[in-house]
Every structure is written in C-alpha cells, then in structure tokens.
C-alpha cells in the first residue's frame, strides 16, 4: 500500500463555468474585483492578472523615470576598476609607509648609541636605563606544583609586559624624550 496522499478531486467549476458558486467563491470574486480596480489592495489573483496583462502588452518605461534610474545607478555604484585602483592605491600607500617606518626606524637605530657608546657615555646615562635583572622580583607567590592550566602563560605574559615597559623607557631615555 502506498503512503502517497490521494490527490484532491478537481473542483466542479474547473470544467463547468456555470456551476453554482459557493459563498467563499463569491467573497473571493468580490475581493478580486476590488483589487483589480485598486492596485493598492493586495490580492494574489489580481497580481497574476496584472502580470498576464504586462506580459501580453508591456508598457514602456517613462523617459524621466528611466533617467532617474540611470542617474541613481551611476551615482551610487562604483566601477570595479575604480575600486581596484583605490584599493591598490591604499595598499601602495600602506606599503610605502611601512617601508618608510622601517628605513627611518633603522636610521634612528643607527643614530641611537650602541652599548659600547653608552658605556663610554658614562655612568649617569647608563644608570638611567633599566638594568639587566632577574624576573624573580615579578613573582611574589611561589610556583604552584603541579602547574595549574595556563599558569605558565600567565607568567610569561607578566614578564613580557614588564620588559616591554623597560624597553619603552630605555628608548625614551636614549632618544632624550623622557
């Protein structure tokens, strides 16, 4: 036995236009009549009727309406070529800026005194730089054993942050901006 549902019987009116209408049909017919008279009333049958009419005799688009569509499209859409050019231009500018930073950075580094020069510069200047030291002072608490999950990363983060601060301070000191 098949599970397929039986198709519904065809309505009598399909082949007999003079079959007496039901109440629902009368209501739906009146709705269609109203919707055909007023396009603002939503009605699927009226929409299909209008689609049939437009397919049979499509109305031309008014010149000014078309001009407005063209102008809107030209104003809002950007040609891809232009987008590529802009993107390429931005990328080039970023690359140039990065190259400039790299070169200037090197020049700055070249200008920055090396360790030997710093030693020669005397104790005052060297004393103003952060000394090489153990990381022990960064940790008051003893290392837990066994190590808890993520403990090593947290320690490394703390060291990295402290040393990044030292590096920054050293640089400012060397460049004379502190």
């Amino acid at each position: 036995m098949s599970d397929k549902p039986k198709p519904l019987p065809e309505p009598a009116w399909l082949d007999d236009p003079d079959a007496p209408p039901s109440e629902e049909e009368k209501i739906a017919s009146a709705r269609l009549r109203d919707a055909l008279g007023d396009p603002k009333i939503p009605n699927a049958d009226a929409e299909l009727a209008r689609a049939l009419s437009l397919a049979d005799e499509p109305r031309p688009l008014a010149e000014e309406e078309h001009r407005a569509i063209v102008e809107r499209s030209l104003a809002t859409a950007k040609p891809r070529g232009q987008v590529i050019r802009v993107a390429f231009g931005v990328a080039t500018a970023v690359a140039l800026a990065a190259a400039a930073v790299l070169v200037l950075g090197r020049l700055d580094m070249a200008e920055a005194p090396r360790a030997a020069d710093m030693r020669a510069a005397g104790p005052v200047r060297i004393a103003s730089l952060a000394p090489v030291r153990s990381t022990q002072e960064l940790f008051d608490e003893p290392f837990a054993k066994p190590l808890s999950r993520g403990a090593a990363s947290a320690r490394i983060d703390r060291i990295a942050m402290a040393r990044a601060g030292d590096l920054r301070e050293n640089r400012f000191a060397m460049w004379g901006v502190r």
Partner: protein
C-alpha cells in the same frame, strides 16, 4: 522585318529587363547602405563601451539610455510581471553592469546580448526570491539564461520582438489549456482591459456572475501554470 524585330527586343528590354535590373541595383545599394549604417552604429557603440570600461560615466549613461528602455519592456517586465519589480531589476542590472563591465569583451556582436544576459540573471534571482506565480517560471528564465549568450540577436529590435513573441506564445498556450469560456473572460477583461460591465454583457452574464467567472478563470490558469511548471521541473 529585321527592324521590327529589333524594335520588339528593345521594347521587351525596356519594359521587363531594365526595370528589374534597376530594381536589383537599388536593392543592392540599399542593403549596402544599411550595412554601412549598421557598421557605423556598431563602431560608435564599441567606442562607448571602451569609454565606459575606462570609467567614463557619461558613456555608461549613454549605453543605458540606448538599451535600457527596451530591456525593461521586453525582458524584465514580462518576466517579473510587476512594474515595481522590473524597475528594481533594471537598477540592479545597471549596478551589475557598472561593476562588471571590465569583464565584457567586444566580440563584434554588440553590447546588447551581454546586457540582456546580465538582466536575465537579475530577473532569475528576483524570481527565486519572490516565489510568486507569474507567467515566467524560474526554470524558464534559467533555460533562457543558458541560451542567452549564443542566441540573443545582435539587433536589439529583433531581440525585443522575439522576446515579446515568446511571451505571447506562452500566454496563448496557457489560455488554450483552460475552458474556452474562462480563456475568453481573461482575454477580454485582463488582456484587452475592457470594462467589467462590457465584458459581462459580451459573455451574457450579470456583472456579479462575471466576477465569479473571472475568479474561476484565474484559478484555472494558475492551476495549469503550476502543473506545467511541475512537469517541466
């Protein structure tokens, strides 16, 4: 005797042969002129496309002004079945053309076949999104789209005529499948847009009965179109 014979030959030449030769020459000249005019138009169009590809908005606008109205009327409006949807689709087509015109390669068949293909793709996307019954089904447009690149005539007027003929043939086929009385009601009221009372009179029913008749006619048409769409898919 000989003089009379040569007179007959001369008369025959002047009556039958010379006008025919002149007519043939005229036709050849006309065809040559038409071909030259077509080539000039094509060259101008090619120039516009090149300028548009280089980012010239004015040239792009001229291309749209030249092909847009026909595209709207013969391609988008019949397939989408609503003026608002067709206008949206036209704007979307233009936006796509602006961003993709660099992909277009001139192949001596003009700009229109490519433009029509872009428009059909936009129409197909709209039909897929809407799921509302119109004369053209998604699959119809998808099939057209497959064939568009190779079958769209170079001349937009020829293409437009072919598009409209195809729509009318589809409508006629659909109407032939429903009860002749329903088909007549649809033809008179919907296609010919005659007033309700006039059509009721022509069909020899009251206006209220005609309302029911038209409602049933649209219902029958919808049913047939849905069945056809199911069979085709």
């Amino acid at each position: 005797m000989r003089g009379a014979r040569s007179g007959i030959v001369t008369a025959a030449l002047s009556i039958f042969i010379l006008p025919a030769v002149a007519e043939r020459d005229d036709a050849t000249k006309r065809a040559r002129d038409q071909e030259r005019a077509r080539e000039e138009t094509r060259d101008e169009e090619r120039g516009l496309v090149s300028r548009a590809q280089a980012g010239d908005k004015q040239a792009m606008g001229e291309l749209f002004q030249r092909f847009g109205p026909g595209l709207y009327r013969s391609v988008l409006l019949p397939r989408l079945g609503s003026e608002a949807a067709a206008k949206d689709a036209l704007g979307e087509t233009y936006a796509k053309v602006i961003t993709r015109i660099h992909q277009f390669t001139w192949q001596n068949v003009g700009f229109y076949p490519w433009l029509r293909t872009v428009a059909l793709r936009v129409a197909l996307d709209q039909l897929r999104a809407r799921k509302r019954l119109v004369v053209w089904e998604e699959d119809d447009v998808a099939r057209e789209l497959d064939a568009a690149a190779t079958t769209t005539p170079i001349d937009q007027q020829v293409s437009d005529r072919r598009d409209r003929d195809a729509v009318r043939a589809k409508l006629t086929r659909a109407l032939e499948q429903i009860h002749p009385r329903y088909a007549r009601a649809v033809r008179l009221r919907v296609l010919e847009e005659r007033p309700r009372e006039e059509v009721a009179q022509m069909l020899e029913v009251t206006p209220a009965t005609f309302d029911v008749l038209l409602h049933r006619a649209i219902g029958a048409l919808k049913k047939k179109m849905s069945e056809d769409a199911e069979v085709e898919s």
